[in-house]
């Protein structure tokens, strides 16, 4: 197991390097000049040159890359062009809200989706299964920003139960904090829940048709034990894969949901930075998201061994 983890971590080094190069090139080769955001449209060219010098954009691209990536290796992601403060500090502030949002969305998605998927597989073609299918279809078809606006209208404006926007940090009180998380988590988690429910149902259906399940039933093992121990455990690896994929899609989905709920997380930071061509922040964000994806994939791979004893890493 340790060898496997170490090997995977070594493989991440070239991946991070490639992501770094790709992020840098992607950002710098995209049209749009950060200097334009400090100046009037009619400013003379020498003023543009002056601002580019101040931002360090007058250097050749390879020099800029070496300077930036050298900083990354030392743990310094540079300073934001606009906020004039370290990108790492901006992430330190923006990352926790995104993590809370992602985790609560994932929690809601899994808690809701796995039982729905299991029950609709066990009771295939029943009324419950049909309800579950509708639930899944709506979840897949509803854009999360639109769902978010509907939720705000209903629960914040009409009923006044929950806040319409913003985020209260847990250190300011866990209940106010949780209240600000509920609506965005539902808006973000619903599509993930639909996907997980669908995969759980199809995974369970496949397993329930296997010979060993029929054998277990023939041996007189209780139906619940057959379903939840024999079948579910064997159906769980594909579900785990989907949950792993859901984490990364929740992070990317948070870009939109954070805008709608005015959530001060990484998603809003990235969107604002892209519009302003704040290169250090965009590059840092891409690296961060790539890093999270790598870690999540590694964790999912390790969990395979936990859920399926046949899998051994060495």
């Amino acid at each position: 197991m340790t060898t496997f983890v170490v090997r995977r971590l070594i493989v991440t080094i070239p991946v991070v390097l490639l992501v770094g190069i790709a992020a840098f090139l992607l950002v710098n080769l995209t049209p749009g000049d950060p200097a334009d955001f400090f100046l009037d449209p009619d400013s003379p060219a020498e003023e543009v040159v002056r601002v580019r010098e101040r931002l360090g954009l007058d250097q050749p691209l390879p020099v800029q890359f070496v300077r930036w990536f050298g900083g990354v290796l030392r743990g310094d992601l540079g300073n934001s062009f606009h906020e004039k403060r370290p990108v790492i500090d901006m992430f330190a502030r923006a990352f926790p809200p995104t993590i809370y949002l992602t985790l609560t969305s994932l929690f809601l998605a899994v808690v809701l989706a796995v039982p729905i998927g299991i029950f609709s597989a066990i009771r295939q073609n029943s009324v419950l299964d049909r309800f579950a299918t509708v639930f899944v279809l709506i979840g897949v078809a509803t854009p999360n920003f639109w769902l978010g606006l509907l939720l705000i209208q209903l629960f914040a404006v009409n009923l006044g139960w929950l806040p319409a926007q913003g985020f209260v940090r847990p250190e300011q009180g866990w209940w106010p904090s949780l209240r600000t998380l509920i609506l965005p988590s539902i808006a973000l988690g619903y599509s993930g829940a639909a996907l997980i429910a669908r995969m759980t149902r199809s995974g369970m259906l496949e397993v329930l048709r296997q010979d060993y399940v029929r054998t277990a039933r023939a041996k007189g093992i209780a139906e619940n034990r057959v379903n939840y121990v024999h079948a579910l455990r064997n159906a769980f690896n594909p579900i785990l894969t989907v949950i792993g994929l859901a984490v990364t899609s929740l992070i990317s989905g948070s870009l939109v949901v954070e805008l709608v709920f005015n959530f001060p997380g990484v998603g809003r930071l990235v969107v604002d930075s892209v519009f302003r061509r704040d290169y250090p922040v965009i590059q840092g964000s891409l690296l961060l998201i790539a890093g999270i994806t790598i870690v999540v994939n590694l964790v999912v791979d390790l969990l395979y061994a936990v859920t399926d004893p046949r899998i051994r890493y060495g």
């Binding site: 003379p44 606009h82 004039k84």
Partner: protein
């Protein structure tokens, strides 16, 4: 006939809307001022920059809470003293002497003196986003602690207006702040350096989350009448909290939910709902913003003035502006840069140049050198004011027989493509409507510092009068002449004015419905 009934209907709607707005404004203004409370504003911008001198991205209604310039603008765009008590110009027009208002203190408790003004001027010339517009000043000196003298190389009548410009403004910082900053801009978290003389001081800034301003009790009120940014500043509420809420729909919902007292820049479509809700009301920020079309006069088919004039005579300004939303949220105005009510504006000067005559336009196209070249109409989706008229304008170009297509790119790409004169033929453009006359001086040069070739020498001769003449009557006549010359040259087509919608909770009082959102004048019932 159809057109007449449409006009009559429109006139009725305008009257009805004006009545509703007048009543709303009355409702908002009534009552005795109350002191105390916290005003929460849902703001459209992320507010990542508060260094008004070093960037043109700051917002007037926010930085004016904290910082103040020597000279500001009234609602008529005329220069009025703020930190300056008065000024005078020498007989030769080369020395401007500003007497500073006495008793003004910075937020750190130190008195404002001429040394701070000089230090701030030096910073302006070092890092100022608009420093090139101050190039006529050759030296600055302080005969005493309450007097500053600016010397110019030639008479410069536009000096006070240039000082009053809110974008990239010449505000006064304490000398020690200037020294600490050096060549750097002020970061959004540099709260300890955000020291001004304004009615509120910066209490807390959490980037992307909130900006909190608290009343500055030692503030010394300016004299004169309230108008535009001029005159006394209210200081009624204890604290002003600005929440950057960049999504328009969320801003609107936060207002309906009672989480903010004011939500700025809402969609015109929200007006009916805001007025129907007993807890909210809509107000318009007039004049608001300008929108116009700019043709590439340096490369491509629009270098031919006949082709530019073809577009100008054929365009139906009203039809283009109808795309902007309910009719009470805009007005047609082809006058270059300025608006109704501003001192140099004239409704009649351009009427003959916009007959909306498609046939005449086609004749001009036939007479021009146009030979079927591609006309790329550059546009951006992130600014609704600019993209909304695009279908009408595109249809017009095609009706004129031009091979036109719409090219839509994101805002940052737009700014880069715009600079490449080989990359577009006609583009959308917009601008603020609160810029002093001296701004025209900056408009007449391209990105390479070259004068506009399409307007001719007479345009620049008029510009000289605007910039240098000390008589406002002469300057106004020059503005009218510049408008006529611009219309003859037809390089830009100014479509009209747009009014921003501000949503307000019904307990908020004294919100001006003019362009200036003077947050320091608001009180809460």
């Amino acid at each position: 006939m159809q057109s007449r009934s449409r006009r009559a209907f429109r006139a009725f709607l305008v009257l009805a809307a004006s009545a509703v707005l007048a009543l709303s404004a009355l409702a908002l203004a009534q009552g005795e001022p109350k002191v105390g409370g916290t005003l929460t504003v849902g703001y459209h911008n992320s507010l990542q920059v508060l260094d008004v001198m070093g960037s043109t991205s700051t917002r007037d209604e926010v930085w004016q809470l904290v910082f103040e310039p020597l000279v500001t603008m009234d609602a008529n765009l005329q220069a009025v003293g703020l930190l300056a008590e008065s000024w005078s110009v020498s007989d030769d027009g080369l020395a401007w002497t500003f007497a500073l208002r006495q008793g003004v203190t910075f937020h750190d408790g130190q008195p404002m003196t001429s040394a701070d003004v000089i230090a701030s001027y030096e910073r302006l010339m070092n890092v100022g986003a608009r420093r090139s517009e101050f190039r006529r000043i050759t030296s600055v000196e302080a005969p005493d602690v309450h007097t500053v003298v600016f010397r110019t190389d030639a008479p410069w009548g536009a000096l006070p207006e240039t000082f009053s410009m809110p974008s990239g403004a010449f505000v006064v910082h304490p000398a020690w702040v200037v020294e600490r900053l050096g060549d750097e801009l002020m970061g959004i978290t540099d709260v300890d350096l955000m020291i001004g003389t304004g009615p509120y001081f910066v209490a807390e800034i959490v980037p992307n989350e909130r900006l909190v301003f608290a009343r500055f009790d030692a503030y010394t009120q300016p004299h004169g009448e309230k108008s535009g940014w001029a005159g006394p500043r209210g200081q009624y509420v204890d604290r002003i909290v600005i929440l950057p809420i960049t999504d328009e729909a969320t801003r609107s919902l936060a207002l309906f939910a009672g989480e903010v007292d004011i939500a700025d820049q809402l969609a015109p479509e929200d007006v009916a709902r805001l007025n129907a809700d007993p807890d909210t009301v809509a107000a318009y920020r007039e004049p608001g913003r300008r929108t116009y079309l700019k043709m590439n006069t340096q490369q491509g088919p629009f270098t031919d003035p006949l082709l530019r004039q073809a577009v100008q005579v054929a365009i139906d300004l009203e039809a283009a502006m109808f795309t902007q939303g309910p009719i009470e949220s805009w007005r047609v105005n082809p006058f270059v840069r300025y608006q109704e009510g501003q001192w140099m504006w004239d409704a009649d000067v351009l009427a003959e140049y916009f007959p909306a005559d498609l046939e005449r336009g086609r004749e001009l196209v036939a007479q021009s050198s146009y030979d079927g070249e591609l006309i790329r109409y550059l546009n951006r989706p992130d600014l609704p004011d600019q993209i909304r008229p695009a279908p009408i304008v595109l249809e017009l170009l095609q009706d004129l027989g031009l091979n036109a297509e719409l090219m839509v790119v994101d805002g940052a790409t737009f700014t880069t493509v715009r600079r490449d004169l080989g990359g577009w033929e006609i583009k959308s453009a917009g601008g603020g409507s609160v810029v002093p006359l001296s701004y025209l001086d900056a408009s007449g040069i391209d990105r390479n510092g070259e004068p506009w070739s399409w307007v001719g020498d007479d345009w620049y001769a008029q510009l000289e009068i605007i910039a240098n003449d000390l008589d406002d009557a002469h300057r106004r006549e020059a503005v009218l002449e510049i408008n006529r010359i611009s219309a003859e040259a037809a390089g830009e087509i100014w479509l009209g004015d747009l009014f921003s919608v501000v949503g307000v909770r019904s307990n908020v009082r004294n919100v001006p419905d003019w362009h200036y959102m003077r947050l320091f004048d608001v009180w809460l019932d």
